[in-house]
Symmetry: C2
Subunit: 282 residues, 2 copies
């Protein structure tokens, strides 16, 4: 997805939010906003939002010297999500279509950006989401592709959300490579959190190499790009990965909640829509 004009105020808002999580020094936060402001005129609008965000977050790291500001938040969120898992497992086990139910849970996991909605009743939100209709539902096509798929990639998003991805991967019942970011970025999953939640019990954990908040191909390692080329079924979680990959022609299914109005308009669904959507470019 290209960067829209509406993304620009949002970059500044995100810079302020991440700046505040990275440091208590107001002068440094102002410096972050100054740098981000000056970046606007240099933004190539054909680049995807996570490509731009990466430049901004690199600046924030350089200014604050805080290389993993979300470390504590990630741990807290993982602990909160872990409490829900036994109940989720029961729901899946008692459903007539456990694969679909688990896919819904993976999408529901994306509903809660624990870092943003701290006051939300997480369990309530998740329970609401798993009963909501998917606005785009390509599950039948997904099941068909899955039957013959030999190289399955699962591109992760937030750290805590990945606990729900584990449930889905268990139901997929085939070897899966789970892709994490190459370095800490926001509350996205890296090898560290993948290890913490035991992702290796259900999948082979590999790194894309990127430290963008989305699977930005120009920032991935050539090793990862080879794996991507060989994949015959790719599951991409969340908005950041959608933004980075929606213009490619990889065999992707995007699982996400369209939380932001720019993405919702890009996909042509209402804000809040839950999606299991085959890549239109494929």
């Amino acid at each position: 997805m290209k960067t829209y004009l509406d993304c620009i105020p949002c970059f500044i808002k995100q810079a302020l939010r991440v700046g505040r999580i990275s440091t208590y020094d107001e002068t440094k936060i102002k410096e972050i906003l100054d740098h981000t402001g000056m970046l606007i005129s240099k933004i190539p609008m054909q680049a995807s939002p996570p490509e731009i965000s990466k430049i901004i977050y690199d600046e924030i790291r350089a200014i604050t010297k805080n290389f993993d500001p979300y470390k504590k938040i990630k741990l807290e969120n993982i602990a909160k999500a872990e409490e829900l898992i036994p109940h989720m497992k029961k729901i899946i086990a008692s459903d007539s279509n456990p694969l679909f139910e688990a896919a819904r849970m993976a999408i529901a996991g994306n509903v809660i950006d624990f870092g943003i909605y701290e006051t939300v009743n997480i369990e309530q939100e998740i329970m609401k989401s798993i009963h909501e209709e998917l606005t785009i539902n390509d599950f039948d096509i997904f099941v068909n592709k899955l039957k013959t798929a030999k190289n399955i990639l699962y591109i992760g998003d937030n750290s805590a959300e990945a606990l729900f991805d584990k449930l889905f991967i268990e139901q997929i019942g085939k070897p899966v490579k789970f892709v994490v970011r190459g370095a800490p970025i926001l509350n996205d999953i890296t090898e560290t959190e993948a290890r913490q939640i035991g992702m290796n019990e259900v999948a082979e954990v590999i790194s894309s190499g990127t430290s963008a908040p989305g699977n930005v191909l120009s920032d991935c390692t050539s090793e990862f790009l080879n794996v991507l080329d060989e994949a015959d079924l790719i599951i991409s979680k969340g908005q950041g990965n959608y933004e980075a990959l929606s213009e490619t022609n990889y065999p992707i299914f995007f699982l996400l909640k369209a939380k932001c109005h720019v993405i919702a308009e890009d996909i042509d669904v209402p804000v809040g829509a839950l999606l299991l959507m085959q890549n239109k470019k494929k």
Copy 2:
């Protein structure tokens, strides 16, 4: 009120919104965002938000050559507000305390920024607001000051809102000078709209000289500043005027709805609070 870090993303958002209302040319809108971004590092944080906004809106005018982008919106909003006035007059006339009821209506008028909430049911919102409790209610102090006041100034805000101000001024029953902006800025009231709504029937209309979206003193004419100095009772409507005047020691009563969380925190009230508040500096 000084400029807070949270105001900065908001400046960019406003620049985009006003840019879009000023022109359909996406290149010019991007240019507006580029210029606004570069301004961030030059923002004197001790300046009030409308002082900064004025610099941004001057840039937008220079880029788009559109000197009154809200002209049509102002006319439409005035027409919508006019429909409500007969009903409002009946409510005031039948109330045991018509001055207080009219003050509530003036505050209720500030609830609706017609330019922003286009889809809102205006009548419903107004009716809701006039029945809501004021979070800060210095009406009794206001009435006492009013008894002896000889030079009353009423600093207007949005154009359509001023129809509700007229109702309040009628109940004040003393000579009032109604202050308008010196040039078009957003949907704020200028001499043109004051004439359109017949403000001169109830008050003497004078200009502050400023084209900021708030009564920024450094941008007002010396003539107006003299009038301000002589005033023994000042009614200030809306957030922009609060931001510009809250650090002064003029004998002001601020009538507004705290719509933005920064202002709400500055005053120490919840977002959405309705206020009739004496200037704390006085």
